[in-house]
Amino acid sequence: MSSTSTIVSLPDQSTAKMPKRHYINNEHGLLSWLLTGDHKRIAILYLISITFFFFIGGAFAGLIRLELLTPQPDLVAADTYNKFFTMHGIIMIFLFLVPSVPATLGNFLIPIMLGAKDLAFPKINLLSWYLYLIGGTLTLAALVLGGVDTGWTFTTPLSTHYLNTHVITAASAIFVAGFSSIFTGLNFIVTIHRMRCPGMTWFRMPLFVWSHYAASLLMVLGTPVLAIALVLVLLERLIGIGVFDPTKGGDPLLFQHLFWFYSHPAVYIMILPGMGVISEVISTFSRKRVFGYTAVAFSSVAIALFGFFVWEHHMFIMGVSNYSALVFSLLTMLVAVPSAIKIFNWAFTLYKGSITFETPMLYAFGFMGLFTIGGLTGVFLGSLGMDIHLTETYFIVAHFHFVMVGGMLMAFLAGVHFWWPKMTGRMYPESLSKLAAVTTFIGFNLTFLPQFILGYLGMPRRYHAYPPEFQVLNVLSTAGATVLGVGYMLPLLYLGWSLKYGAIAGNNPWQATGLEWQIQSPPLTENFLETPIVEHEAYDYDWLANKTRNEVTTVG
């Protein structure tokens, strides 16, 4: 009991000092950032660029909600509205969610968690950031030139035959951004296999690394299939090859198979790294080893594996055979099992833990609740009969926003707040950040819970007008989106503020056990002065208590 109480009392940060030399001040000048091979600097570059795209995508969400405030199409015309939701989808999925946690937090932390000096291929890491930027620029080009209105799914033959918008620009943007994601995944897998420090066995790795490993497998195996599907769409538009064109004997459904073969695993690319964040945060703020470490680790891999065999549930109403629909429905239900394993294990980690409610923990609680709702409504949609009623309605919109925004974005913010002291060496104002976490949670529920009801009542997605009886719920949703917007603006402001004025964090402000917390914050460019040797498993709070006790006597 005595050891537990010493752990819960967080260290006195008033004596903490900023280290003289760290990765941020190691070199100066813009070029030292743009040509860097340092995984931590690349992570910061990514963090800035994905934040930029997040707020552009968010602006489109705001415009969509504004149009839906009234039943009449009064803000924009139908085709402009189509361009809005397409841009919102493309930016949020390919330029924010897919790289969000892996490319920022993963990039920053995986080498440190493994006790390595850098990722295996620093130049490829930098290349992947530049590819991301090219993809982002092309997306913005498509936007500025007049937009694209295929929806983020590029469904054929709509995208190949019936539209005169900038499909080619947008599809090339995603093609290029896809390679950025492939290279990130490849780098992670090689690093995790080959760069672990002495004593860092597979089952001593933090769960954050495990979930990134699973997500990287999906990136490496899934993204090339999206690439070829987009190449075929581009060839069809440019020179009229007819692989997806029914008038020439092609099959538009083939495109959907190829597209969803990537894009369903892609939702696990988005959520798995977030689950890794939650494992770290829950363990740290309950001061307990993650319950069922092995089960949580393997459930990540299981999600990655099952994730490849469920893509057809996006196509149940598109004329696929009944028998295959039955099989895919069953497989879809199976994915719920490893996800539930994670949720239950986190709950058991909390059980009898010494829980404190710091900001990252609040976001993590938000994740657990919202992801569970999102996951369970996914089971509704996976069952064949329900799916026919609910698909292409706001129910599905609410479902994937619960998983992606309620789940992943909460996890991203949990992670950013959790590791912010490590990345910048400074603390943010705790009361303000707690306010932001609560605001986000309230705003999110207000935005998306009404959409479940709207969808169940039959309001179809992707229309800019709707019957007047749906207005009350839509007004609620728009009001919620406003609150949500405030919730997302707050971190931008106070995190920016903390860069200069925040209290100095010290090495281990949360008293966490991870290897990254045992080095200075912000870390040195080479991470470790000497290669560490790991002799304890992840989340060993007894080890940390011993270490801290010794430190008190020696530092004095």
């Binding site: 295996a120 490849l186 002495p198 195996l221 090339p224 070829i228 004997g249 000497e530 002799e535």
Partner: protein
């Protein structure tokens, strides 16, 4: 120092003493040892090739689907391809791969002249392959077998008129030969693109090999490029039977 994060300084010293090799200038600071660097590099290359398999896999899947749907069209369209040219290209590509394998060996045993010779031969055979491919593409152009507005189905609806011993196809099925040619051009074109990128890399590697970069113990780029080049060979080894051979004797 605390109890868990100890140092491996002594460890590292032992390791180096045991192997007694000179540190390579290409050794990167973030790898503990050169073995680790080399292993990471080739592991990364294998993973990249895995993504390439998935990339080509999309097209192989489309081929499988349409071949089942439009079997008669695929049979006659496939007979349009020249087996001697395809076989010659297969031989050329295998020879090129053989030279590349010898090049990797030359780099390992540090024979600079032989390495450069092998890289040049690999390049030449690669170019020869592309040359033959151009001849084949040109023939399709002349016969109006390039999919698009000028695609001509008369050879498939009236084979006797062209001196072919094929069953004539109904016009709608004959149109489906276009699907075969889409896939033919998409798959061989994507393969050729990989060859062109490979040949570009070969020029650069030959230049560096000539400078002596790869014959002083640093073989990773040659080894990894070799993996890539063999992968491109293997893709062709699947394309050749699927596109040229599999329908030579259609079932009746």
């Amino acid at each position: 120092m605390d109890n868990a994060i100890a140092t491996v300084q002594e460890h590292g010293a032992d390791l180096h003493a045991a192997h007694e090799h000179v540190a390579l200038p290409q050794h990167r600071h973030h790898f503990e040892t050169e073995e680790q660097q080399r292993e990471a590099g080739s592991f990364g290359m294998w993973l990249f090739l895995l993504t390439e398999i998935m990339f080509f896999g999309g097209m192989f899947f489309a081929y499988l689907l349409y071949r089942n749907w439009y079997y008669p069209a695929f049979a006659v369209a496939s007979n349009q391809l020249s087996v001697p040219l395809g076989a010659a290209n297969t031989a050329i590509l295998i020879t090129s791969g053989f030279c590349m394998a010898l090049g990797v060996w030359a780099s390992e045993v540090q024979k600079k002249g032989f390495l450069v010779l092998m890289l040049v031969l690999t390049t030449l055979f690669g170019l020869a392959f592309l040359g033959v491919k151009t001849v084949e593409y040109h023939e399709k152009w002349e016969k109006h077998h390039i999919p698009g507005a000028s695609f001509n189905i008369s050879e498939f609806t009236n084979p006797a008129g062209f001196g072919l011993k094929e069953e004539p196809l109904a016009p709608d099925m004959a149109q489906k030969t276009q699907v075969f040619f889409f896939l033919y051009f998409a798959m061989t074109g994507m393969h050729a693109l990989h060859m062109i990128i490979g040949i570009g890399l070969l020029f650069w590697l030959t230049h560096r090999a000539h400078r002596g970069d790869f014959t002083a113990g640093y073989v990773a780029p040659i080894e990894n490029f070799g993996l890539y080049w063999h992968f491109v060979d293997i893709v062709w080894l699947f394309l050749f039977p699927l596109l040229y051979l599999i329908n030579r004797h259609p079932l009746h």
